[in-house]
């Protein structure tokens, strides 16, 4: 592997996991510009970490970890040259919702973004249908703590969702 030349299996890795990356970035970004910035940084760090991926955890656990770590640590930067990797991603992020389902999803994202950054990670993994064990492995906290945190966050999210007109 050298310079900017990507390994053959890296492109499919990003394509296969683009749904995960998109959702995580959307949970942490406040606007489209932030989203593109996060997306670029996640892709870059996945590439950098991919060289050292030893398969100790499953590929998806690894993708969740890298993407969450990037988003939790990312500093909002002044404008920089962002390469938009693809224009094939859903645009519901910044456009008006056209149906009730889309509206519900948008409201869910907006509510999640009101939570603390670490709480967003917990509820995000729950919504991704991860088991308590998997959430514990990704976040590095105990299974029992995952359960307790989830109860509290779900309650808070429920209140926010109920507050929707």
């Amino acid at each position: 592997m050298s310079g900017n030349s990507i390994e053959p299996d890296f492109k499919p890795l990003i394509e296969d996991n683009i749904g995960i990356i998109t959702k995580i970035c959307r949970v942490y970004a406040d606007n489209q510009e932030d989203f593109d910035d996060y997306f670029q940084e996640v892709t870059l760090q996945l590439w950098k970490s991919y060289k050292n991926f030893r398969g100790k955890s499953s590929l998806s656990t690894w993708v969740y970890r890298v993407a969450l770590n990037v988003c939790l640590l990312q500093i909002k930067k002044k404008k920089r040259n962002i390469i938009v990797l693809t224009d094939q991603l859903p645009t519901s992020w910044y456009e008006e919702a056209t149906n009730e389902k889309e509206e519900m999803v948008q409201y869910l994202y907006a509510s999640i973004r009101k939570l603390k950054k670490d709480d967003r990670a917990v509820i995000f993994l729950f919504l991704e249908d991860k088991s308590y064990q998997e959430i514990s492995e990704i976040l590095g906290i105990t299974v029992s703590n995952v359960g307790v945190k989830l109860n509290r966050i779900k309650q808070r999210l429920k209140e926010m969702m109920n507050g929707r007109a």
Partner: protein, 197 residues
């Protein structure tokens, strides 16, 4: 409103984009410089490492030029020690991996941020202490202290201590301006994640 567990369905059906990425664009992205704080820390650590190296060499040349060979050796050894310490911190930052679990990653990054403060204070202490002792010794050699009375001594020692604390405060201020906000946020996040509710 649907129960939250029902929202999982909406969530999981909301976005399953099928995307065929352009290889060229992907290559452009991976060739970009990271804006992450870790990469930023690595750059700063490298710059400071070099800065310290240049300062050490310049100081040693200065001592040699004025034929203070003993001091050149002492200063050289100490600066080399600081350089190794800086290099050690650089290695610590380099070892932090985005593949770690979230808590471990945040803790390691926080520790790396804190190590910057320790590094500045250590460098300040060593350089200041050596410079103070060196200036005393050099003045003694020149018999400059013979005419000094107790008050003058007090002024010299007092201004040395005040200077040290001013430098200390400046370092803390620099640290908090550059890293403080981020360090505080990280600490909060770590505490919140660890919190047993």
């Amino acid at each position: 409103m649907e129960e939250l567990d029902d929202l999982k369905e909406i969530w999981n059906n909301s976005e399953k984009p099928v995307v065929n990425l352009e290889r060229e664009k992907l290559e452009k992205v991976i060739s970009k410089k990271s804006t992450g704080i870790l990469d930023w820390l690595k750059i700063i650590a490298k710059i400071e490492d070099w800065g310290n190296f240049i300062f050490s060499i310049a100081s040693i040349i200065y001592f040699i030029y004025y034929q203070y060979y003993d001091w050149a050796i002492v200063f050289g050894i100490l600066c080399m020690g600081i350089s190794f310490y800086f290099h050690y911190i650089y290695k610590i930052i380099h070892r932090i991996s985005y593949s770690e679990n979230v808590l471990e990653f945040l803790e390691d990054t926080y520790a790396a941020l804190r190590s910057f403060l320790r590094k500045y204070l250590t460098a300040l202490f060593v350089i200041y202490f050596i410079s103070f002792i060196a200036s005393l010794a050099l003045n003694m050699e020149a018999d400059a202290f013979e005419k000094l009375n107790a008050t003058s001594w007090l002024i010299i020692i007092g201004s040395g201590i005040i200077g040290f604390f001013v430098a200390w405060i400046l370092i803390y201020t620099y640290y908090y301006l550059v890293y403080g906000r981020k360090a505080r946020k990280l600490k909060k996040m770590i505490e919140s994640l660890k919190e047993k509710e």
